[in-house]
């Protein structure tokens, strides 16, 4: 049952790359954003928080559609890129990477914001008074004290990107080696009545997803950082 052909391996590679890059980029973006969100509750912060959470409720096709008309050859971003001598981003790995970052944003931002809120301002103020600059404070106080939040954010981002389908299909299509990720490949297999192949990949994803969530919730219980 678990016999993977070259097409499957290629899809696994694309998927893994997409998940890894998305996770790295999102952690870099979400850390300052979540820190800022955790600092208070002004109206502007609430607006930003709502925007970040949009992918949780929107149908992926809506997000994919807007990204397609923005990043595609006629979109603002796509056209500008083409004018500068680059490729537009529809149907490319870079395109679905941008889409993944936006689509998985709430899964990185929410646990981090929660972790930073729980941390409070006291430890940071203490570290400042003891002579620690911004980067020093992050490295020696903020990160170690909200490590659980980072683990949860990274794991959920990775797992959620793995489960992307609608956005990728809308924006990236199904180009082998470029945008054909596991979920799309499973769809293709099922369409082609190739149920055995679809089954083995589906089961793989199912097990992976369960293990991931199990790990997250175990960590969650230990650190009590994020309520999801």
């Amino acid at each position: 049952m678990f016999q993977l052909g070259p097409a499957e391996w290629q899809a696994i590679e694309v998927t893994f790359k997409l998940c890894l890059y998305t996770t790295i980029i999102l952690l870099l973006l979400a850390t300052p954003l979540s820190w800022w969100l955790a600092q208070g509750r002004t109206q502007f912060r609430t607006v930003v928080q709502a925007i970040v959470a949009l992918p949780l409720v929107l149908p992926p096709t809506v997000l994919g559609f807007y990204l397609l008309i923005t990043l595609g050859p006629r979109g603002v971003v796509g056209q500008t890129l083409q004018d500068l001598g680059f490729q537009h981003l529809a149907f490319s790995f870079e395109g679905i990477l941008i889409a993944s970052v936006i689509y998985s944003m709430p899964f990185a931002v929410q646990p981090l914001t929660e972790a930073f809120r729980n941390l409070g301002r006291r430890p940071v103020e203490v570290a400042s008074s003891l002579g620690a600059g911004a980067w020093d404070r992050f490295r020696t106080v903020i990160f170690p004290l909200s490590r659980g939040g980072f683990v949860v954010a990274a794991t959920l981002t990775f797992a959620h990107t793995l489960g992307e389908f609608g956005v990728i299909l809308m924006l990236g299509g199904s180009i082998p080696g470029e945008t054909k990720v596991l979920s799309v490949l499973i769809y293709d297999h099922a369409e082609a009545m190739n149920y055995d192949a679809a089954h083995s990949l589906s089961l793989m994803l199912l097990i992976f997803a369960f293990v991931t969530l199990f790990v997250v919730y175990s960590i969650n219980r230990r650190f009590e950082v994020a309520k999801l």
């Binding site: 430890p123 400042s128 002579g131």
Partner: protein, 357 residues
């Protein structure tokens, strides 16, 4: 050394802070007032944790905040001690203690771990985890950690408010010792008259976000209506040197011309310069030096001021032979009967004395 503060800020509708003052900084300065009067906010402005627009904070000759110029807290070299314990929970007791020391350039280090741990009595606790320390021990580590950055200024935000009475009694001597021995000016937020009379040299009275007045502790205690007096009424604080105990266990306090004898068993041997507090209602006045009386402590004093009676009781301010102020609370009737008046020489009979630090 002075600290110049000019700030105006609002938090919501109810709170407004408006100050424009230059505070002398030697010794311990207490910011005293009810909760909500703005003393903690003022402390946070000094620390640079609040940054009101247009505020000016000048420490000695150095501007910490003026216009666009703003020195962040980690460059101000301020030791901060908060109300509740604020040790970093992921570090051991030792790592907490040394966190700031390691970040202080060696040429700026004036205090070192050995002296500080000895001063605070925490040598034997260094290898403990944070959760194995009692509240008082944690607060001592917080103090030590702040001292070890060799700060130019120590800010204490109600350092004992979260401690129970027993632990307060345990911490108080360490704080007093730290204030005396470290040579670092201290600004302390407090709403407890007890803490202020024990520790402060100067009191900044705050009310409704404004500084009412700045007085030395002595001046603050010389007023019969001082906000520093709690339910027990007016009290005076005498400063003096405590001598060695004689055969009857009594220890002399103060110079021969104004000597008191203290017999408390709580006195640790070898204590020297100290403060005692005497409630005005524990002091009686006599025109002659009475011989056959159980009260042992009689001081010749000169009446300096007699305050108008309240509830038929007058507070009489007397000057001792060594120039300190002693308050006596007696009835208006007694003032009349004895013919007490400013400048008159009388004897103060002191019934009981509380040792402060």
């Amino acid at each position: 050394m002075t600290l110049y503060l000019q700030a105006h800020l609002r938090h919501g509708k109810d709170f407004e802070l408006k100050v424009n003052h230059e505070l002398p900084l030697e010794g311990v300065t207490a910011l005293f007032g009810r909760s909500g009067c703005g003393k903690t906010t003022l402390l946070r402005i000094i620390a640079g944790l609040e940054r009101p627009k247009g505020a000016v904070v000048r420490f000695g000759g150095q501007h910490w905040q003026r216009g666009r110029q703003f020195l962040p807290l980690h460059k101000r070299r301020i030791g901060l001690v908060f109300q509740e314990h604020s040790l970093l929970p992921h570090l051991s007791a030792r790592e907490n203690l040394l966190y700031g020391y390691q970040r202080t350039p060696p040429e700026q280090r004036r205090l070192h771990p050995d002296e500080v741990t000895a001063m605070l009595g925490i040598e034997h606790l260094l290898d403990r985890r944070i959760d194995q320390l009692s509240g008082g021990q944690r607060q001592r580590f917080s103090l030590g950690r702040a001292l070890l950055i060799s700060p130019q200024l120590l800010l204490l935000d109600e350092p004992m408010a979260a401690l129970d009475t027993q632990t307060k009694r345990e911490i108080m001597p360490f704080l007093a010792r730290m204030a005396a021995e470290s040579g670092v000016p201290i600004v302390m937020v407090s709403h407890s008259p007890d803490e202020v009379t024990r520790l402060a040299d100067r009191v900044v009275f705050m009310q409704n976000g404004q500084i009412q007045n700045v007085e030395t502790l002595r001046e603050a205690l010389a007023r019969p209506d001082s906000p520093l007096f709690d339910d027990a009424g007016a009290a005076s604080v005498l400063e003096g040197t405590l001598g060695e105990a004689g055969e009857d266990n009594a220890r002399p306090f103060g110079p021969p011309e104004a000597r008191l004898w203290l017999t408390s068993s709580a006195l640790a041997a070898g204590m020297n310069r100290t403060r005692i507090s005497i409630l005005a209602r524990d002091v009686s006045l006599s025109l002659v030096d009475p011989q056959h009386i159980s009260i042992q402590n009689h001081l010749p004093v000169t009446i300096e001021r007699i305050d108008p009676p309240r509830d038929n009781r007058c507070v009489v301010a007397c000057r001792t032979a060594d120039g300190q102020l002693l308050l006596a609370e007696i009835t208006a009737r007694a003032v009349q009967q004895l013919g007490l008046a400013t400048g008159k020489q009388v004897y103060a009979l002191i019934k009981s004395v509380a040792l402060l630090a």
